[in-house]
């Protein structure tokens, strides 16, 4: 039988590196099959995808051995929504795919319409691409691929840069397209909403070899240990279903949910300790042009408190965080840091009290060495060198960066870069640490490690304020959640009270434990057996 898509004994080595990125990989994919490639970061799963799609060695040069069979027409969807377009408007971008296939001009408009409809992109054709949200951009990327009418779609972490809502939308869209007989090969970080409709999962280890494959259920069960050790995000529920877990009180997931609920509840009910205020926000209004991004916001932050700022994209979360660091000027109202208006602080003094960790750590690095990066603030303030080195060492140790002290910050891994960017903000024992989506794009292992460090700091009295989309992290770590919606605070209190409230919380996804709790609570009155 002629093979549809396959690679046989393929190894890949990039020029200038001594070790193989992929080792003797053989895969055969049937027409219409949906396959997920899974593995720890840096294991070569993206490389494998690129080899199968022909990007390696076609566009990116590398030494490839072994044979590859692929259909004539393939399409690839990439993770960066800003770096896969070359035109200015939506219609032109889809037309670019058609132009490359030399489709006659008079057929284009109809084909563009079809592709846009299939991708759920209901905007005028002359919409400027830069005005679309990340999720809409990924829809456009998909429409461009559908216009190629490829036999195989390769998807390289298509939702890595989207928020949970955007990710959910893209996954359901892809699932609806998957019903057609299209072959799809995925590399993806977050598996909820995706893994349950895969036909096969292929698991790679850190050295770039296949260690197992099979149906999603089998792989998740059989290789549970390897998956955990490799720091891969596991699905929150799959391979189980809510029905199954609810029905079985001794199910490990149900036990875990019950535990976490109890803990959250306990934390919510714990009497609030009297602590010093670090930051007071009073009647803050911030506007861009004529529209108010935030309106009349007031709250206080005390020592040793972990606050999570949540809300939909564009609700004003990042603006609020920046305002707390004095990077955004309010039109009205005041922010006080240690009872002194933020405007009255000299810049250097202010940032000995307040640290800010940006979403892209690379943009905040200013030196060429990890050690110098941490010591930087002390050097420009002319600290005593021996004291400074002692402090720097302690920070490097605390954030497990000791082994890389002489490396260039840009050469670190994603997780290390993030930890370094946090470490640089703690040299002065800053009282207030602001973080913009600190766990974004990180795997489970590095996220957990970072959060554990932050927890330590919190216990020493640092106030932590972070913007995040991950409600499980909010539930587990935050003492308090600020839900921003339409420029105002919709909720301010313990995560337990927000998630367990009867009201709907649009734009936020409740942790599964609360979903289960709601089900149990409602089940007693309404339906005795949960339905899907």
């Amino acid at each position: 039988m002629a093979q549809h898509l396959a690679c046989n004994d393929v190894s890949v080595r990039f020029y200038g590196t001594s070790s193989l990125t992929l080792r003797n990989v053989s895969i055969s994919v049937q027409p219409g099959e949906k396959v997920l490639l899974l593995g720890p970061s840096g294991c070569g799963k993206s490389t494998l995808l690129s080899v199968l799609s022909g990007i390696i060695p076609g566009t990116i040069e590398a030494e490839v051995t072994g044979s590859i069979i692929r259909p004539a027409s393939v399409g690839v969807m990439f993770q960066d929504p800003d770096a896969q377009f070359c035109m200015l408007t939506v219609g032109d971008e889809i037309a670019f795919s058609l132009e490359n296939r030399a489709i006659p001009q008079h057929e284009m408009d109809a084909r563009i319409d079809t592709a846009m409809k299939q991708a759920g992109l209901f905007v005028p054709k002359d919409t400027l691409i830069e005005t679309l949200s990340g999720g809409m951009k990924q829809r456009l990327a998909l429409a461009c691929l559908l216009a190629l009418e490829a036999d195989v779609l390769f998807l390289d972490e298509p939702t890595a840069q989207l928020d949970p809502q955007g990710r959910h939308d893209i996954f359901s869209l892809l699932k609806s397209i998957a019903a057609s007989n299209m072959t799809m090969i995925f590399v993806e970080h977050v598996l909820d909403g995706l893994i349950d409709w895969m036909d096969r999962v292929i698991l790679l280890d850190a050295t770039g070899s296949i260690i197992g494959e099979g149906t999603p259920q089998d792989v998740l069960r059989q290789y549970a240990k390897e998956i955990e050790a490799a720091g891969i995000w596991r699905p929150r529920l799959f391979p189980y279903t809510m029905d199954k877990v609810s029905a079985d009180p001794s199910h490990p997931l149900q036990i875990a949910w019950r535990d976490s609920l109890e803990q959250s509840k306990k934390r919510a009910q714990a009497p609030k300790q009297k602590r010093l205020d670090i930051c007071n926000v009073r009647d803050l209004t911030i506007s861009y042009g004529k529209t108010n991004v935030l309106e009349h916001i007031s709250f206080d932050i005390t020592e040793g408190e972990w606050t999570a700022i949540v809300g939909e994209n564009g609700a004003g979360k990042s603006t609020l965080l920046k305002a707390l660091a004095g990077l955004e000027k309010g039109r009205q109202g005041n922010i006080y840091i240690q009872n002194r208006p933020i405007r009255k602080w000299p810049t250097a003094k202010l940032y000995e009290q307040v640290g800010f960790v940006f979403q892209n750590p690379e943009l905040q690095f200013v030196t060429d060495r990890v050690y110098d990066e941490v010591a930087f603030g002390g050097r420009i303030r002319k600290f005593d060198e021996s004291k400074l080195s002692e402090k720097t060492h302690r920070l490097l140790q605390e954030f497990s960066l000791d082994a890389h002290r002489d490396a260039h910050p840009f050469t670190l891994s994603q997780g290390q870069k993030r930890r370094l960017s946090v470490a640089t903000m703690l040299l002065f024992e800053q009282k207030l640490l602001l973080l913009d989506e600190p766990t974004f794009g990180q795997d489970e292992a590095t996220s957990t490690q970072l959060l554990a460090r932050l927890m330590q700091r919190k216990e020493q009295g640092t106030a932590i304020v972070m913007v995040t989309h991950d409600m499980d992290i909010v539930d587990r770590y935050a003492d308090r959640v600020l839900w921003i919606s339409d420029g105002a605070i919709r909720f301010d209190g313990a995560p337990y009270r927000l998630f367990s409230s009867e009201e709907s919380i649009p734009g936020l996804t409740r942790p599964l434990s609360y979903e289960w709790e709601r089900r149990v609570r409602n089940g007693q009155h309404k339906c005795p057996i949960g339905t899907n």
Partner: protein
Amino acid sequence: MVNTSVRLAQINPAVKLTAHLMVMLFLMMIADPATSALLWVLSIVIGILFGGWNIQYIIKRIVPYFAFFLLVFWMLAAFGKGEHIVGEFAWFRITEEGIYNGLTIAFRMLGFVTYGLLFTSTTDTTQLVMSMIHQYRLSPKWGYGLLAGLRFIPLFQSELSQMKAAHKIRGFHAQGKLKSFARYTLPLFTQGIRKAERVAIAMEARGFDGAKPRTYYHVPTIRRIDWMYCAFLFMAVLSLTALSFSFGWLHWTWNGSSA
């Protein structure tokens, strides 16, 4: 802001570009203030008639250049050579020749700015590139590359402002202009190259290789209206020049300075 509904926006961009460049070239050949001023006024009139300009637009876009106009005029008038002295004070020596040349150069500059603006305010970037591909045989590789590159400009801006904020918090002050230039451009450049590489990969992955035969969604052609615009523009320029000649104002660049 490109207003695509106005009449000038319907003109083929390549033709429009050529026509305006020719008028600009013609402006360089004129060496008297009156003709230069007339030709400048013509560009404003065209802007109002066919470019959808109104008074607010002109005030916002053109009036700022009057500062330049005065500066150029003053420089040449006050420091230019000449024999017929009009007035003298402090170390300035105003001569008739200086005033004459100053006005010429200043109006020429205004004319350049306005004809350029007349082009950019009525031309869609994508249409321009497509027209360059079709009318001037620009290779698609360059054309589409150019369009892809344009998308980076707003991206650069947001990254730069983020980096400045980050450096402010870190307390980083680069010593000297050169150092701060290197500090900001290097990371932006590396990010830019990385993004550009990704875009290039994405474009190739979608079957673009710059050589294969391809069709086009937009195929700008040269129509009668394009020739009509050219004819109108050139006729207007020539009549104004003739008018100026009949009044004895006209002076060509190669005739040397006069007055």
